[in-house]
Point group: C2
Chain length 122, copies 2
C-alpha cells in the first residue's frame, strides 16, 4: 500500500449517481463478481484501490459493496428482486470517472442505466 498516493488535490470531486434497472437477479446476488466489477471500474478510471468489501444480506437478498479509493469511493446496493442496483462513483484528483462508467455499461449492456453528475466541493 505504500505506493498509494496521499491526496493533495483541491476538494473538488466528480460524483456520479448511477441507477441501473433490468439487471439479472443472480448477478445482483453474486458478491465476488460485484466486487471484481467495482474494483475493475475503479482501475479503469485510473483510481487506486485501498480496500473493498461486499456484504451479503443472504436469503436471496442483495448485497452492499464499498470500494475505498485514494481518490474517494465506489459503492453499490442491489435489489435482485427488482433487478435494480444503485451505484455511486465519487472520484477526485487525476481520475477519469467516465471510464469507470463505461466499464459498468459494457459489463451490463442490457441494463437501463440512469446517471447524473454532481460536482462536490465546487
Amino acid at each position: 500500500m505504500s505506493a498509494v498516493p496521499v491526496p493533495r488535490f483541491a476538494p473538488r470531486g466528480t460524483h456520479w449517481l448511477v441507477d441501473c434497472y433490468g439487471v439479472d437477479a443472480l448477478l445482483l446476488r453474486d458478491a465476488p463478481t460485484i466486487e471484481a466489477l467495482l474494483r475493475d471500474a475503479a482501475r479503469a478510471a485510473g483510481a487506486h484501490v485501498l480496500s473493498s468489501h461486499v456484504h451479503r444480506f443472504g436469503d436471496g437478498a442483495g448485497v452492499t459493496g464499498v470500494v475505498v479509493l485514494a481518490e474517494s469511493h465506489l459503492t453499490i446496493h442491489t435489489w435482485p428482486e427488482h433487478g435494480f442496483a444503485a451505484i455511486d462513483l465519487f472520484l477526485c484528483g487525476e481520475t477519469e470517472p467516465e471510464r469507470a462508467i463505461a466499464h459498468l455499461e459494457s459489463a451490463w449492456p442490457d441494463a437501463r442505466i440512469v446517471k447524473t453528475r454532481h460536482a462536490r466541493g465546487a
Copy 2:
C-alpha cells in the same frame, strides 16, 4: 438480461449529498471522532450499523470513512487543508435521513453546509 423487465417502483432510497465548508482542520484529521460522528448520525436516523472504517491518509492529510448500514451507507472524505468535508447519506427503508443530517449540523454548528437530496431507484 434482456428478459428482465424494467421495474416500476417508488424510490428505494434517499441520498443526501452534504458538502461542509469551514470545518476545523484538526477535527477533519481526527479519525476516531469522525467515525463516532458518522455512527451516531446513522443511529440518529434509525439505521443499523453493520461495520465502519476510517482510513487516515497521514502526513496532515484527511480521512476517508465508510459506515456500511443495513439500510445502505454513510461516507465521508475530508480535506483539512481546505476545511472541507464531503459527506454522503444514502438511506433506505424505515429510516429518517433528516435526523442524521440534524446530528451532523449540531456537531458542526459553525460549518457552512450545502446539501442536496436525490431519490434513488425512482
